[in-house]
């Protein structure tokens, strides 16, 4: 019997802003190995240049909605979809954020707009209208669910949870929600109640929940009141390194390079990195630091580096393209992920695969699966500085670590989580089936 999965995502490579899109591609690619699983992947907007050899990709923006309109106007409950005000930027693509914050956004009620064929023009980005798009996406999801044959729904992160719920409501098929990150991670504790409610509703409505780490599972239990029995941890994997890309840019200086790579937002702990850099630079001149990425805290970091008088050794790159990221890994001597709360942290696996020794915060999912990395509490700047200093000054340490970490990562391709996911699909369908009987 073939199991048909209707999967809802928000981004798909190459149009990604972080780990979510990478994970979705990895998982669907891993699942494509199995003959008994067929995945249809829905994103708000398909750009046409996605690598869709191994997965059927549908853009919600291409689905006409005209016959759905009446239904939503009748129900008191769903009319609210038309009236959500969205001043909130919950999960921001850094570059998008810059553009949006420089625009004045009108606080007018947003009505659902469709084109002449009744299609909703999605952007599939993380902007000011995100919550509007999330609800529009749910409507299109209902339409797809009514027309397609499938056995199971799988929704990735809160933006797609309404879509998952709507698809389940229409079809009665079981729903799995996949937590790649929670609003507690992204906001650094400053939770947006609207997003929290959507996340919680999705998890409560779901038949099963996948968390990307035990760390995340604990958050779901403690902060969202979800039963631990309902949650299964499936760790992310990493795509084997493609050595042909990158290697175009060489390091132009002899000092060791310590790298921070990610969104420059409070979640990723950039401030701790800057403070640690200053401590290291005070006693060691043979090192440079680079902060690669963009985000709402970037300007503050630039100012802080100047304040600490380390700006001649602490560099900024802004947002990096994919090939530049590869080059940066190759230039780096130490990779640091000081996240305040990191559900997983695929970039650490990538760094390990690229033979870069890693310092990672204990408040991360990836620290559960890798042994040959240095682990520190994100708030312990001294420990962070100490770890960086050791890796820079005592090369033997780094050589040892990177060799072993590389070996650890070799077994962590996407086949493993895909296999676990397949088991979960089969099991969930069985349970649902027997219950229905």
């Amino acid at each position: 019997m073939q199991l048909k999965v209707l999967m809802f995502g928000w981004e798909f490579p190459p149009h990604i802003s972080g780990g979510l899109g990478t994970a979705c591609q990895g998982l669907t690619k891993g699942l494509s190995v199995f003959n008994d699983i067929e995945v249809t992947f829905v994103v708000p907007k398909a750009h046409g240049d996605e690598n869709s050899d191994l997965v059927k990709l549908i853009g919600a923006a291409d689905i006409p909605l005209s016959n759905k309109k009446m239904k939503f106007k009748n129900s008191q409950n769903e009319i609210k979809y038309f009236k959500i005000k969205s001043h909130i930027v919950p999960y921001t693509n850094p570059d998008e954020f810059w553009k949006l914050t420089s625009l004045k956004h009108s606080g007018k009620t947003q009505f659902l707009q469709t084109d002449e064929y009744g299609r909703v023009p999605f952007t599939g980005k993380y902007g000011m209208n995100l919550i509007d798009e999330v609800f529009s996406y749910a409507m299109v999801a209902g339409k797809i669910a009514g027309e397609k044959q499938f056995d199971l729904i799988h929704a990735h992160d809160w933006m797609t949870f309404q879509a998952g719920i709507e698809a389940k409501r229409i079809s009665g098929k079981p729903l799995i929600v996949h937590i790649h990150s929670t609003d507690f991670d992204r906001s650094g504790g400053n939770v947006n109640p609207q997003i929290y409610a959507i996340e919680r509703e999705g998890m409560e409505y779901a038949d099963k929940i996948v968390a990307v780490s035990e760390y995340t599972k604990l958050i779901l239990v403690e902060k969202y009141g979800i039963s631990a029995k309902k949650i299964q941890t499936i760790y992310n994997g990493v795509e084997p390194f493609d050595l042909r890309t990158g290697n175009e840019i060489k390091k132009g200086f002899k000092e060791k390079l310590v790298t921070f790579l990610g969104r420059v937002t409070s979640q990723k702990g950039p401030g701790y990195f800057v403070e640690a850099a200053s401590e290291v630079l005070r006693r060691n001149n043979n090192v440079r630091f680079v902060m690669a990425g963009s985000g709402d805290m970037l300007n503050e970091m630039v100012r802080r580096a100047a304040q600490l008088k380390i700006a001649d050794r602490f560099h900024f790159t802004g947002f990096l393209e994919n090939h530049e990221v590869q080059s940066l890994y190759q230039m780096s001597d130490v990779y640091v992920l000081p996240s305040v709360s990191e559900p997983f942290g695929i970039s650490v696996l990538e760094a390990a695969q690229g033979n870069v020794p890693v310092v990672v915060s204990k408040q991360s999912g990836v620290s559960e699966v890798l042994n040959n990395v240095l682990k520190v509490d994100y708030w312990d700047v001294h420990a962070l500085a100490d770890a960086i200093h050791a890796l820079v000054e005592y090369p033997a340490l780094g050589i040892c670590m990177k060799k072993r970490a590389h070996a650890e990562v070799l077994n962590m391709n996407w086949d493993v989580p895909a296999g676990q996911l397949r088991q979960l699909y089969i099991q969930t369908c069985k349970t649902k089936h027997s219950r229905n009987k």
């Binding site: 100012r303 100047a306 700006a311 560099h315 802004g318």
Partner: protein, 410 residues
């Protein structure tokens, strides 16, 4: 009798391209040549050349009665040389018409006077050499960017062959003293201090950017009135005008040429106004007292401190890290490297890092191409990092050569 000295200021910076982290150590071309070329050729065509012609006409018409001075930075001269050589010829013509003085400056319109006395002297001499080469004049009157002034700076310029310096008419400089008189430096009385009349200067700049109607062709009459209306004991009116303000001066809508023709005509006709060059003022007018300015101040911001240049941590960090390299640079003789060193000092880089909205962005010659002061800082520090690497490389090579030579001798 009022004595007006008209100074036209011209400065052009070399702009950096988007020099990125990945370029450090790999690519040492820092400049946005295209942007520079476009701006310079545009300005030459719309402003420098036509306005120089107007001035030349006026100088010839009122031979010996109308006088002007130019304060042209070294980088501006370099840029004319590169992209618009006819501008230099045009200035040469003005110079040979007589009654034209060229002022002393730091070569790269830099903040070096706040950093190091030896480097300061080098920059001023480098600039003086260029002026002498092109215009056959030894500049005697010094003007700092933003009219940055302190007792020490004033004292120092005497060693560089100058005998007068400009300062802003702020209360930090003057206290309650009369802005229309000549003063001398507190440490060295041989150095005269000329005070800039920023109120009239600003008024002229607004006159030049106004749109005019046929009934009201220009503000020349008002301008003469304003100057006459200054208190009786304010005898000197030193006006420093940004030459860039006269952009599109041939544009009929603005009729700037008409303004100047009428203004000079009316001023000289009134017989209560005369023109003088800064040097003539320092020679002919008696300085009344000293001004005391212990800590350097500038005239650019509303606070009259150094905020537009060194107000925030980024500007201070960039400034300190730049001049930390001075001892290494003094050992270095490589031409390309020294050129980059001079261009690193251009004060516009520091302007574009300003987070103070009330000053930085309003600076007249701020052609900042950056989206934010942060971006400006990042690019600047990347360039500085690469420069520092090259400097170290060259010094190591030199030391190696020296050691080999000594070994051979032994």
């Amino acid at each position: 009798m009022k004595t007006i000295s008209l100074i036209f200021a011209i400065h052009l910076p070399f702009r950096y391209r988007k020099y990125r982290f990945f370029d450090i150590g790999n690519n040492s071309h820092y400049y946005d040549d295209n942007a520079d070329k476009t701006i310079v050729t545009n300005m030459a065509e719309n402003c420098y050349l036509p306005f120089n012609n107007i001035l030349l006409k006026l100088l010839k018409k009122y031979k010996g009665r109308f006088k002007v001075a130019f304060s042209i930075s070294g980088t501006a001269l370099e840029m004319f040389n590169l992209y618009a050589p006819d501008v230099i010829d045009s200035f040469k013509k003005l110079s040979s018409a007589g009654s034209v003085e060229f002022l002393a400056e730091t070569y790269s319109h830099s903040l070096v006077s706040l950093a190091d006395s030896l480097l300061f002297e080098k920059q001023v001499k480098l600039h003086g050499g260029l002026i002498e080469k092109y215009f056959n004049q030894k500049p005697k009157v010094f003007r700092n960017p933003g009219l940055i002034y302190s007792d020490d700076i004033g004292n120092h310029i005497y060693d560089m062959g100058c005998n007068a310096i400009f300062a802003e008419s702020t209360k930090q400089v003057l206290g309650l003293k009369n802005p229309g008189l000549l003063y001398y430096n507190d440490i060295n009385p041989k150095v005269k201090v000329l005070i800039h009349n920023r109120i009239i200067s600003k008024y002229i700049e607004t006159c030049c950017s106004k749109k005019l109607t046929p009934e009201h062709p220009n503000d020349a009459e008002q301008l003469v009135k304003q100057i006459k209306a200054l208190p009786e004991n304010e005898k000197l009116v030193n006006l420093i005008l940004n030459y860039g303000t006269f952009d599109k001066c041939i544009h009929p809508e603005k009729a700037i040429s008409g303004l100047w023709e009428d203004f000079i005509h009316l001023a000289l006709k009134s017989e209560t106004i005369q023109f003088s060059t800064p040097s003539e003022i320092t020679e002919n007018v008696k300085a009344v007292s000293s001004v005391h300015v212990a800590k350097a101040v500038s005239g650019e911001s509303t606070e009259h401190d150094l905020a537009p240049f060194l107000g925030n941590e980024m500007q201070q960090e960039a400034f300190t890290k730049l001049y930390d390299l001075k001892y290494k640079v003094l050992l270095c003789t490589e031409v390309e490297l020294l050129k980059d060193w001079n261009y690193l000092q251009i004060s516009d880089h520091y302007n574009s890092m300003s987070t103070d909205n009330t000053s930085g962005s309003k600076l007249p010659h701020n052609f900042s191409t950056y989206d934010s002061p942060y971006e400006a800082f990042i690019v600047y520090m990347n360039v500085l990092s690469d420069f520092s690497l090259r400097l170290d490389n060259i010094l190591t090579q030199t030391i190696k050569k020296q050691t080999n030579l000594t070994k051979k001798r032994c």
